[in-house]
């Protein structure tokens, strides 16, 4: 074979042969032959166990990544875009066309979420990162790079999705149904509204929101605060959200039930349907003579669930108006 080689190859063989030190030294032979005495053997069982652990961790990591992926896709609304909007039970997706659209806002439920809706995929992502790190430590060679890089990517995603700043601004508010604007106290800039709905009946108030964040913000809804007490100022309870039909921060009135949506840069008008408390002022209340009833005001706090990069979080948003309710006990 060497006879057919060109000069550079022959020269190379000569150079390499000069590096050849000959037989292994005795000390290396001694060290090598002592290895079985000094080093615990892996054994077939050990190898099988290791391969089994790798397989289990690999499957667990794949399942967890699938769960995280589905959760994130849901949070991004991609699955809904593929399947189409999910109809709310009893809801009509036909836009409201009526002389008094507020009379039709009897549908409750759209936009209301359970209190646990803002927890996010923290358990799935955290578990996936732990499993991927274990897998990276178990694997050998370059194969460990894949789980290690995936774990780092997941950690970066979790940090970005949970830490990116988000804020909400309100750019209008106005009465809808069974609600009357109250005169502000002299020197006060507060906007006050009387709930004039009958006890346990619905009222509607509108407000426009604008989200401020470097990343797209998806509004999932508001948390349904089911307070156990109902005789105080929080006798009212938010029951539904309707979307305003106007584009680009104009107000046109309620148009359709809320569905999760990416917040437009120009803002979006919402109509919140609330249920008056058992001690509501009622339709007999005369806003022109409020002194007849002892009242007090309270902020109508919203616990808003938003998601950034598919990771939900709960934000406390205080609107620029306060609700006025009777200061009295009732059964």
């Amino acid at each position: 074979m060497r006879n057919n080689r060109e000069p550079v190859e022959l020269q190379l063989v000569d150079v390499l042969d000069r590096l050849d030190p000959g037989a292994a030294p005795a000390r290396l032979r001694r060290r090598a032959l002592e290895v079985p005495e000094n080093v615990p053997a892996g054994g077939r069982f050990g190898l099988g166990l290791r391969q089994g652990i790798e397989a289990v961790l690999g499957v667990a990591a794949a399942v967890l990544l699938a769960v995280v992926g589905i959760t994130v896709l849901n949070g991004l609304g991609i699955s809904q875009k593929i399947a189409g909007p999910a109809p709310t039970p009893g809801a009509s997706t036909v836009p409201i066309a009526s002389a008094n659209p507020f009379e039709q806002l009897t549908l409750v439920g759209p936009g209301m979420l359970a209190p646990a809706s803002g927890e996010g995929p923290v358990i799935a992502v955290g578990t996936a990162i732990v499993v991927l790190v274990l897998l990276a430590l178990t694997l050998q060679g370059r194969r460990r790079l894949v789980p290690a890089a995936t774990a780092i990517a997941l950690a970066v995603y979790a940090v970005v999705a949970t830490q990116v700043p988000v804020s909400f601004h309100t750019y209008f508010s106005g009465p809808g149904l069974h609600i009357e604007q109250a005169a502000s106290a002299p020197g006060s800039s507060e906007t006050l509204y009387y709930e004039t709905a009958p006890a346990r009946s619905l009222f509607v108030i509108g407000t426009g929101w604008m989200a401020d964040s470097p990343l797209p913000v998806r509004l999932e809804g508001i948390v349904d605060q089911q307070f156990t007490y109902s005789d105080a100022f929080l006798g009212m309870r938010w029951m539904a959200i309707w979307l305003d039909g106007a584009q680009e921060s104009n107000i046109a009135g309620p148009n359709r039930p809320f569905t999760p949506m990416e917040m437009p840069a120009a803002g979006q008008g919402f109509w919140f349907v609330g249920q008056a408390g058992a001690c509501a002022l009622g339709p007999d209340f005369d806003p022109a003579h409020p002194d007849n009833v002892a009242v007090w005001s309270s902020p109508a706090m919203f616990d808003v669930v938003v998601s950034v990069l598919g990771w939900p979080r709960v934000m406390h948003v205080e609107p620029p108006f306060r609700m006025v309710e009777p200061d009295r006990s009732c059964p």
Binding site: M1, E6, P7, V8, E9, Q11, L12, V13, D14, V15, L16, D17, L19, D20, P21, G22, A23, A24, P25, R27, L28, R29, R31, A32, L33, V35, P36, E37, V39, P40, A41, G42, G43, R44, F45, G46, L47
Partner: protein
């Protein structure tokens, strides 16, 4: 008196029946002993350092012993162990490439006051090839040694190193091209 002459039986470690572990260790030692010289020579040429070659071979023996239980066919020990050794040498070459220390003092002194022998060697083709070989990257050097010192075929190299045959061919072609250019430059 007689009783004091009767010796207690002594437990002799070497006399106990051989266990499966003993048999396996003995088989491993026999195989390592058989391939040690060839492995050491290969490692020394790959690394161009006989002392580091000893460490590389020892590391490979330790790794092989840990995985020996999974080796079903003792006849495949040689290519299996060679693959372990080649990987150990490649890791050392890469680590060396990352932490290459240059003796700048010596290089400057040689540049300013070249000895007669150095000057003569610098013109020789062999020296040029030697220097070009030292300048090759870890992977190229590994392939060149396996091909031109161990006389392995391209397919055997591909299996030992764990890369496609086409990659072996192209890297060898590139490496030989560099060595040829260095030799031709020295001859001019």
């Amino acid at each position: 008196m007689l009783g004091s002459l009767v010796r207690e039986p002594v437990v002799n470690e070497t006399a106990r029946p051989a266990t499966m572990a003993d048999t396996r260790a003995a088989a491993f030692r026999r195989l390592v002993d058989l391939h040690l010289d060839r492995s050491y020579r290969l490692a020394a040429v790959i690394l161009a350092d006989s002392l580091e070659a000893e460490d590389a071979v020892h590391d490979a023996v330790v790794a092989a012993w840990r995985g020996f239980g999974g080796l079903r066919d003792p006849a495949s020990f040689e290519p299996w162990f060679q693959r372990i050794l080649v990987n150990a040498c490649r890791d050392r070459l890469r680590a060396r490439a990352r932490h290459r220390v240059r003796d700048l003092g010596r290089e400057l002194a040689e540049a300013e006051h070249p000895t007669e022998a150095d000057a003569a060697d610098a013109t020789s083709a062999r020296d040029a090839v030697d220097r070009a070989l030292a300048a090759l990257g870890p992977d190229e050097r590994l392939l060149v040694v396996l091909r031109y010192h161990a006389d392995m075929l391209v397919g055997e190299i591909a299996v030992a190193v764990g890369i496609p045959e086409g990659t072996v061919k192209s890297r060898l072609h590139t490496a030989i091209g560099r060595l040829r250019a260095a030799m031709e430059a020295a001859e001019r």
